[in-house]
């Protein structure tokens, strides 16, 4: 053995300890300040949103006061009162439950199908050549255009709505996964192969986790498409005795009930934003874990 007893141990340990102390100093400092940072962050996240809501309400009230289409255009006060009343009834909650259930099932199917297609297409070169551009093409297709097709195929059923949700959302989800696989850093691939990861284990331990941020981004975009498809579907495919947000909105249109229509729109907007926020939280959590956030 050429290398024997290098350096004296205490001196080495001492230098190491010093170096590590300097290295971790900044992190220790951050940990100490964490609670106050959390409060500051919560406030920083809250006030712009609150301000945005105040601005929207103010502009809305101004238009109302100005007297534009006064007869049919309700002010924020009347609309929010209407929303409050509807929230006391079972009908709105029933509708929300129906719509949310469809969203969960449709989006869940889209994630499963999109991920499966993405995984296959990213691994099999001929399949990618054949289907890759088709997926991107499908992504640009306005999903409402699928409804005549879906209604002829499945009739006025929930299946028709779910079918269009999947067609709307799955391409984005597949593309997200494909992008994630494509952008797996070559150096990590090299390291993975060197340590003996092959085929399935390479995929499972390296490529899939490396794709996670792009996959989540794809899911977020897919959700937006799914929610739009669902709303279009509920307005077009009206199933008797199955109140949904789309059905309520459609009824309001028939009865020219502007207050209720606006109230329902607010509900739809709120639900969409809520789910979008969930994805943002997931995205941020991943970035923080990976150290991809800029130090604030």
């Amino acid at each position: 053995m050429a290398a024997n007893n290098p350096g004296s141990l205490p001196a080495y340990a001492e230098r190491l300890a010093w170096l590590e102390a300097t290295d971790t100093e900044s992190q220790a400092g951050q940990r100490g300040r964490r609670p106050s940072i959390l409060a500051v962050r919560a406030w920083a996240a809250f006030w712009p949103k609150a301000l945005a809501i105040v601005i929207v309400l103010a502009v809305w009230q101004l238009i109302h006061v100005s007297g534009w289409k006064k007869v049919i255009f309700p002010g924020p006060g009347a609309t929010l009162a209407n929303l409050w009343d509807q929230l006391q009834t079972g009908l709105l909650w029933h509708a929300i439950a129906t719509t949310a259930g469809r969203a969960v099932i449709g989006f869940g199917l889209a994630v499963a199908i999109g991920a499966a297609i993405g995984a296959l297409v990213s691994r099999i070169a001929p399949l990618r050549a054949a289907v890759g551009s088709l997926i991107t093409g499908l992504q640009t297709m306005p999903s409402i255009a699928w409804f005549p097709f879906a209604i002829i195929l499945f009739g006025i059923t929930t299946t028709a709505i779910l079918f269009v949700i999947v067609l709307g959302a799955a391409p984005s989800i597949a593309n997200g996964l494909i992008a994630g696989v494509d952008y797996t850093p070559p150096l990590l691939l090299k390291a993975g192969k060197m340590m003996g990861l092959r085929r399935l284990s390479l995929y499972w331990h390296l490529i899939l986790p490396a794709s996670l941020p792009a996959f989540v981004a794809g899911m977020r975009q897919g959700w937006a498409f799914a929610w739009r498809s669902l709303m279009a579907g509920e307005l077009l495919v009206i199933i008797a005795n199955q109140p949904s947000l789309g059905v309520l909105l459609s009824t309001d249109q028939d009865q020219a009930d502007m207050q209720s229509a606006t109230a329902i729109i607010i509900v739809i907007l709120a639900l969409g934003i809520f789910v979008h926020t969930l994805f943002s939280v997931a995205d941020r959590a991943i970035r923080r874990r990976w150290g991809l956030t800029g130090t604030v």
Partner: protein, 260 residues
């Protein structure tokens, strides 16, 4: 600090030598072809620490890729006995895993069971002096600490041959100095054959049993120096500096000869 615990491979395990015979590597074809390596012959016996040194473009990294089996030679033969691990200039850690997780994934790739994996991961983390940092993610560690995790991961592969591609090139002098000691220690308990690529002549003399000088474009072996300096060595000691100066002169000669 506890003494270094080293899981040694059984003495019966053979392997750990590298042999290149008249290896040529050409990238591209026709007029745009680049001859990265030209008729390189090199033998690294088991247990030797060989440093490859040369100006940029001498195909040092290509040479390591050939030994690692990541690329095939255009002509000539590469033969390696034993398992090979490769360390890069960047730590190339998986950002979604902790330091310990990064070591463990290498053990998992070798099909080692959970209980043994846990134990060996802890040993390896300890062996590179990262006890207490196993739960940190790569971005929470300093550059030197990350490279030590990469070293632990390379050791986890239970390799006979360790290839190192300028592994300390991106570190500051103080940290690099520490990692040189680290490498000496880690090596002390194992039958590890090391091929270490660097452009830092003093580093090569500080670490290696032998320094091989490569020319650039195309890469050829132009000279080699034994390093008969006793361990422990210091990078700023007189014998190291003296030999480094001689090797630097030889490198300069080679480069100016090239500049005609």
């Amino acid at each position: 600090m506890s003494p270094v615990t080293v899981t040694d491979r059984p003495a019966s395990a053979v392997g750990g030598s590298v042999q290149l015979s008249t290896v040529t590597k050409v990238f591209g074809r026709g007029s745009s072809a680049v001859r990265a390596l030209d008729q390189i012959s090199l033998e690294v016996p088991q247990g030797e620490f060989t440093c490859l040194i040369g100006a940029s473009g001498c195909g040092k990294s290509t040479l390591l890729s050939l030994i690692a089996g990541l690329e095939q030679p255009t002509s000539g033969a590469v033969s390696v006995s034993g398992r090979v691990a490769l360390m890069f200039q960047e730590p190339a850690l998986f950002p979604w895993l902790t330091a310990a997780g990064n070591v463990e994934v290498a053990l998992r790739a070798h099909g080692i069971g959970r209980a043994e994996r846990r134990q060996r991961t802890a040993e390896l983390i300890e062996a590179v002096h990262l006890g207490g940092f196993g739960g940190k993610r790569p971005h929470e560690l300093s550059g030197g600490m990350r490279q030590r995790v990469a070293l632990a991961r390379a050791l986890a592969q239970d390799a006979d041959v360790l290839l190192m591609d300028e592994p300390f090139g991106a570190l500051d002098a103080m940290t690099r100095d520490l990692l040189h000691d680290e490498l000496d220690r880690v090596r002390a308990g194992r039958q590890l054959t090391i091929v270490f690529v660097t452009h830092n002549v003093r580093e090569a003399v500080r670490l290696g049993d032998r320094v091989v000088v490569l020319s650039s474009r195309p890469g050829r072996v132009v000279d080699e120096f034994a390093v008969p300096i006793e361990h422990p060595r210091r990078i700023d000691s007189a014998p190291v500096a003296e030999l480094a100066a001689r090797i630097t002169d030889r490198l300069r000669e080679e480069m100016s000869g090239h500049g005609r």
